[in-house]
Every structure is written in structure tokens, then in C-alpha cells.
């Protein structure tokens, strides 16, 4: 087996007195598609947000390739310099539950802004890439619209294109369809499904769409109270979960989904 791309080792994460991750251990192989499931408040978003450097953590180590999230002499809440954090972020992209497109920029500019400003891409190259991505998410005709003129599903597809434009090695999805009307969920899942075929892209997905998780993931991890209680192939987790908490959780969500 290859060395893992992402490795959490005994990571502790607290918000004040509340311990959210408790000696958390977790590794992800390059190119792996991992789905995180679990009850609300179990720490799934926190794992993604730590990877995106949106949250610091207190103890333990986290590595991404050969980069450690804590610098040897790092300071501040992240124990790392701004430059180091930016080096880390080069590898990671994130798709948020609430899309978070920039409301004052057109669809095209939302996508090309970061490649031009951060990766120093030339505008024509960035736009060519953006149009390619817009074709991929099926929104080529919306390039000059503004986010407020799009449906939620369209906004989320733009947000996915925007994240992909930075060519991340790891793409994080935090409940990308939870804020959408039911009839719009399918189009977003369709885009994520396409990305799941990209061999090199490592994906971490938090979702309540169990059938979709089963279909695209290599591995499903069940979270409870800041730890991974059970993990395995989707077939095993969904058809024969071993832990009672997993069984209970799956029963409660699957009855809801019919």
C-alpha cells in the first residue's frame, strides 16, 4: 500500500471545554473517495475544516503528503506561518453547504479569480480552463450571470467548478446538497459523480445521501462523538454494520429515505 496522503494521528480538537475530536486517527490514500457519515455534532465538518485550515487543533499531528500542519517553530493558533498555511491550502479545495459564491462577481469571475490571483495564471488560460469546467458542470451558458440569478443547484455546481479550477489534490465536500431543494439535489450529485471518476483526485465527502455514498465511495467512515466508530467498504457498512451505534444510525436515516 502507498503511504497515505492524509494522516491524522491522535489529533485533539476542542472548542473551549467541548472536546470535538478525541485522539482522532484517520488516514486517506491518494485518489481515495471517502464518505463521512454520522449523527449531527459528531465532528464530521470539523475534520474537513481542519484539513482546509479553517480551524486549528490542539494536540496531535496531521500531515498532508510530506507537509505537516504544524510547523516546527510555528506560532499562533495554527502553529504555522501564513506562508506555510498557504502552501498547505494549495493542495486542498472545499465545497461548502451554503455554496459561498462571491455575490459581486459573475460566474466566470468567481472561477477565474483565484487561478489568476493565487496561481498567477494568465487570464486567457484561466478563462479557457473555467469554460472547460463550466461545460463539465453544464453551466456554460451562465458564465456571465451573477450568483443571485442562479438556483441553489446551479450555484453549487459553480462552486464545484471554482474549487476544481485550483487543481486541488484533495477536494472536500461538506454536505453539498443539504441546503438544496430536493429536485435540485440530483444535478449536483451528478457533477460529484463525474469528479469521482477522476483517478488522481482524493475526495472527502460528508453527506446524508446514503445511496449516493454507497455508489461512489471506496470507503465509508461512521463518526460518533469525535471518533470513527466503524469504517469499511460501502457494501460492508451498509449491508452488515457491526457496531450497534452504526446499525441504529443507519436505520434512522434509511427509513427516512425510503
Amino acid at each position: 500500500m502507498n503511504p497515505p496522503l492524509i494522516r491524522f494521528t491522535d489529533v485533539n480538537k476542542r472548542f473551549g471545554p467541548l472536546t470535538v475530536l478525541d485522539r482522532f486517527n484517520f488516514a486517506v490514500q491518494p485518489g481515495e473517495k471517502v464518505t463521512l457519515i454520522g449523527p449531527s455534532g459528531s465532528g464530521k465538518s470539523t475534520v474537513l475544516r481542519i484539513l482546509m485550515t479553517l480551524e486549528p487543533f490542539q494536540e496531535g499531528t496531521l500531515t498532508l503528503g510530506d507537509l505537516s500542519y504544524h510547523e516546527p517553530n510555528g506560532r499562533g493558533p495554527f502553529m504555522a506561518s501564513d506562508k506555510h498555511l498557504r502552501d498547505l491550502r494549495k493542495n486542498v479545495g472545499m465545497v461548502f453547504q451554503s455554496f459561498n459564491l462571491f455575490p459581486h462577481m459573475s460566474v466566470l469571475r468567481n472561477i477565474v479569480e483565484a487561478p489568476i490571483a493565487v496561481l498567477d495564471m494568465r487570464r486567457d488560460a484561466a478563462e479557457a480552463r473555467a469554460l472547460e469546467l463550466l461545460r463539465l458542470v453544464g453551466l456554460l451558458d451562465k458564465r456571465d450571470q451573477f450568483p443571485s440569478q442562479l438556483s441553489g443547484g446551479q450555484q453549487q455546481r459553480v462552486a464545484i467548478a471554482r474549487a476544481m479550477a485550483m487543481r486541488p489534490r484533495v477536494l472536500l465536500f461538506d454536505e453539498p446538497t443539504s441546503a438544496l431543494d430536493p429536485q435540485l439535489v440530483g444535478e449536483v450529485l451528478g457533477v460529484i459523480r463525474t469528479l469521482a471518476h477522476e483517478h488522481d483526485l482524493t475526495m472527502l465527502l460528508v453527506t446524508h445521501e446514503m445511496r449516493f455514498a454507497r455508489e461512489i465511495s471506496d470507503r465509508v467512515c461512521f463518526f460518533a462523538a469525535g471518533r470513527i466508530v466503524e469504517q469499511g467498504t460501502p457494501e460492508r457498512i451498509f449491508s452488515s454494520p457491526e457496531q450497534p451505534r452504526t446499525q441504529e444510525f443507519l436505520k434512522s436515516v434509511l427509513t427516512g429515505q425510503g
Partner: protein, 221 residues
């Protein structure tokens, strides 16, 4: 005859008032952005200095600041001419109020926008200039409009440090003509008209900014 004469003198004063108001408002806006950004984005030391500046400037009366600059500052070796004193005093004063507007605007941008910018690896500077400020600057404009009118009214105080503005001319005329009712009525009307014009300009700018934001060049409806 006297009406024409009085009006001519008052108009000359009003010109000075307008110049002082415009310069100090623009300088004040610059201070507002620098201090407001420092307050939100600065490290612990810088943010605290900005806070102190804002609180101190907003805590002291403008007239006291003007007199201090005019009478006290020369005693520690810094002599400014009245015009500069007036501009500096007004700008420092209105800049502090504006800084609070900028702070409020920046803090009103949802945190998730800043997180999205971070996820795209924008630098903090880039995030400020291209993500947060553009989203909020239009929302700040009504408050800036009010402050501009406030500042226009405040300029009347510079007459007390011997700048020949509208108020100063009114005082001169009154001392000569002793026709207080007429002179002050004209003066009040002068300020009122200038305030209306200023409000209209600020509303026009806001309107233009909103149009610009909603229908940028190159967009087909």
C-alpha cells in the same frame, strides 16, 4: 442693493466652506478606511491603537480638538496655519466616525465568505481588497452620506479659528449691518442648500455604484 452685496460676501464664504468640507471629507474617508481596516484586520497591537484612536476622537468635542490644534499645539513646537488646522481637525474627527462605519461594514460580511476566500488560497490582503470590501462598500454609502453632511455642518466651527468661511463672513456682516435676522437666515439657507446638494451627490454615487454592481460591463441580460 445691500442684498446683492451681502450675498456676494456670503457666497465667497460659502466657497471656502465647500472647499474645506470637500477636502476634509475626502481625507476623512481615507482615514476611515485605514483605521477601520486596521481595527478589523490588524494584529492585537494595531487593532488596539485603532480602537484607541476611534474612541478618543469620538470622545472629545470637535471644538476642543480645533482649539487644541490651534492654541496648544504651537506651544509644543508645531505651528499650522488656520486652514491646515481646520482641515486636520475635521478630517481626524470625521475619520474616526467613518472608521466605525468601515468596521461595521467589514464585520457584516458573512464569515463564510472569508472562509470561501481562504479555501481558494487568497491572501488576506487580496481577500480584503477583492472579496470583503467590494461586497460592503455600497452598504456603507448611506452612512457615509450622513457623515458627509455632519462634516459639512461641523465646518462652521472653523470660523472660530479665524478661517473666513460662511459662518465667519456671516459674523462679519452682522457686526457691520446689525441686521441679524436677515444675515443668519441667509446663512442657514446657504448651509441647507449645500447639505441638500451634498446629500443628492452622495445618493447619486450610491445609485451609480448599485447599478454598476448589478449590471457590470459585458453582461447580457
Amino acid at each position: 442693493m445691500t442684498w446683492v452685496h451681502d450675498l456676494a460676501i456670503l457666497t465667497r464664504g460659502a466657497g471656502i466652506t465647500a472647499i474645506i468640507a470637500v477636502i476634509s471629507t475626502l481625507l476623512g474617508a481615507a482615514i476611515a478606511f485605514i483605521v477601520g481596516v486596521a481595527r478589523v484586520e490588524g494584529g492585537p497591537v494595531v487593532a488596539r491603537i485603532a480602537l484607541f484612536y476611534i474612541e478618543f476622537m469620538r470622545g472629545t468635542p470637535l471644538l476642543v480638538k480645533l482649539f487644541w490644534l490651534y492654541y496648544a499645539l504651537p506651544l509644543i513646537g508645531v505651528s499650522l496655519d488656520p486652514f491646515t488646522t481646520g482641515i486636520v481637525g475635521l478630517s481626524l474627527n470625521i475619520g474616526a466616525y467613518g472608521a466605525e462605519v468601515v468596521r461595521g461594514g467589514l464585520q457584516s460580511v458573512p464569515d463564510v465568505q472569508i472562509e470561501a476566500a481562504r479555501a481558494l488560497n487568497f491572501s488576506r490582503r487580496y481577500t480584503l481588497l477583492h472579496i470583503t470590501l467590494p461586497q460592503t462598500v455600497i452598504e456603507m454609502m448611506p452612512a457615509f452620506g450622513n457623515l458627509a453632511v455632519q462634516n459639512l455642518k461641523d465646518t462652521a466651527l472653523v470660523s472660530l479659528i479665524s478661517i473666513a468661511d460662511l459662518t465667519f463672513r456671516a459674523q462679519q456682516l452682522r457686526n457691520i449691518t446689525l441686521d441679524s435676522a436677515r444675515i443668519y437666515t441667509l446663512t442657514l439657507l446657504g448651509y441647507f442648500v449645500m447639505a441638500l446638494v451634498l446629500s443628492a451627490v452622495m445618493r447619486f454615487l450610491e445609485h451609480k455604484a448599485r447599478r454598476g454592481a448589478a449590471f457590470p460591463r459585458g453582461m447580457q441580460q
